[in-house]
Amino acid sequence: MTAIIADHIISPLADGTAANLDAVLADRSAIRRYADHFPLVEPFCASLFAPAEIKMQAGFSRFESLCINAVQYSAEGLDAGLLSAKDTVFILSTTKGNIEFLAQTEDIALCDSAKRIARFFGNTNTPIVVSNACISGVCAIITAKRLLDEGIYTNAVIVGCDVLSPFIISGFQSFKALSDEPCKPYDATRKGLNLGEAAACLVLSSDSRWASRSLGTVMAGSIHNDANHISGPSRTGEGSYLCLKDVITDLDTLAFVNVHGTATLYNDEMESIALNRAGLQNVPVNALKGYFGHTLGAAGLLETILSLHALHRGIILGTHGFDQAGTTMPVSVSSATRRTDKKEFVKLLSGFGGCNAAIRVSIEPTATSEQIPMPDACRISGEVHITPTAVTVNGQPVATKAQGGALLSELYRTYSGDYPKFFKMDTLARLGFVASELLLSGIGEERFVPRTDRAIVMANRSSCLQNDRAYQKTIMPDNYYPSPALFVYTLPNIVTGEIAIRNKFFGESSFYVLDNEEQMKPLVSSAFMQRGVQSVLAGWVECADENTFEAHICLIEKND
């Protein structure tokens, strides 16, 4: 049993889950137009906190303060010792954390932020950061469920947040992804998305002592890659379809699907295709981006929490901004609030790197959820280690001439050579890409055969700092030309997407930012807790700059 025992949402609309739900029910939207908010950044529509709306914690950034506040309010009424307990883990869901300070300092590591937040509450476990682009929030819930199901922890405090700055807004503008008016999910006249700031916290527990407080149960979760493109949604909705197929067992109990619904032409079109392929064309669908904008690392949590509390009130929320159907495949969009007596909903997300995730949640306090055990035994079928000066495959040194960044190009030319997109990648993606090429070409399996049974799980400490610096240089006051080709790599999970696309791996793709490689082990093992997974391509891919990096990747297979 993975019970949801507490939650809290802080958004520009309201502080508190109930207050946010009431605001949505009153059809209020926090999206406003900002013309001169940031110098150089073109006018945009977004949902932003006014500075005075954020209760700052002394010594913490506004990103960290929002996370702390969301956790603090969630914990009201819980046993005082729960947050600091030895069997409680903090999981942070964010795409860019403190990135707004990059121009001044490089001391912005996500894992350090997470540690400061956990320590604030006296929790001494090393926290986990899920940085899987826009699907981070749902992935964090899935990670928590797996760790709790396996008994590695008893409680998980999951907090999701992103704050907006010129870094993020300029990037989305360079992608021509933003609408210059309030967004219209699934509508025929939709023009793009709006970004939003928010923090949301969800506390999960497998401790039966908390059963009386349970607000619901996380029943099943699934993550799949489209293996199609690092920024363009799949035209067949493959990853989202596979996720929906995994988590939905019974249409009769399903009240609605809360979709990603970013209001870009391609996202909503892709989702409509996936929903149809999964036989969900008549199931009510709603999207919350019209109220809050796209809140990035908070989105999966915020939208899950609101959906949960709406369902407790017997309500399917409306879709602000939707008027007239505008997808080629028919879907049953809930334009306004409607009643339901069903007890389950599905939360669906997709993101850059081709990743997709879905969870099914029941409002029954102690429902029996799907639990797939970790395998008893696994074998390592291949292992590659790359440093700037040395390469080994299965422990055997590989002769190379170049060093540093040039070594990665040499390895690409020697072992691949037929994939010019390599030269567009940042160093982190190049590192993961060549390491996976060496590994997969060395184990003798047939390459490029589409498969859904292999997960890609990667992690590091520095996220994608090297490329963040490169993007930052394109938004400086004296040289403001935001580069979309660099911006896309400011998400660390793109490396997993590149490998999925190259190899046609449609299984899970996940990226964690962690304190050290050892911390990866339970996360890699837990990737086997998704239906159908037979092998995991696991990698520690650390990259400080173009010439300083280390990759240690292996293929782990289930013993039959």
């Binding site: 360079s174 021509k176 010019p420 997109k421 030269f423 567009k424 030309y481 979309p484 080709a485």
Partner: protein, 83 residues
């Protein structure tokens, strides 16, 4: 407008390693075949036009017209450049 210069700028902006200006034909489609360019490359060409020539394209549709070939692009730059 010098097509060779434009080709060189395209190669640099899009990191087209192993491609030389001679590999890009003046009237061949930039997208769809040959160079293997994708939607991110198209967006990066928007940046190239703005940075090098002070031309701001409004939307992706406009881009599709301008990026039909190097000839088309050069022609558009001649007519609209502000620097």
């Amino acid at each position: 407008m010098n097509n060779e210069l434009l080709k060189q700028q395209i190669i640099e902006a899009l990191n087209l390693e192993d491609i030389t200006p001679a590999d890009i034909q003046d009237d061949a489609p930039l997208f769809g075949e040959g160079l293997g360019l994708d939607s991110i490359d198209a967006l990066e060409l928007f940046v190239l036009l703005e940075k090098q020539y002070g031309i701001k394209l409004q939307n992706k549709e406009e881009g599709k017209q301008v990026f039909q070939s190097v000839n088309k692009m050069a022609e558009y730059i001649e007519q609209h450049r502000t620097k």
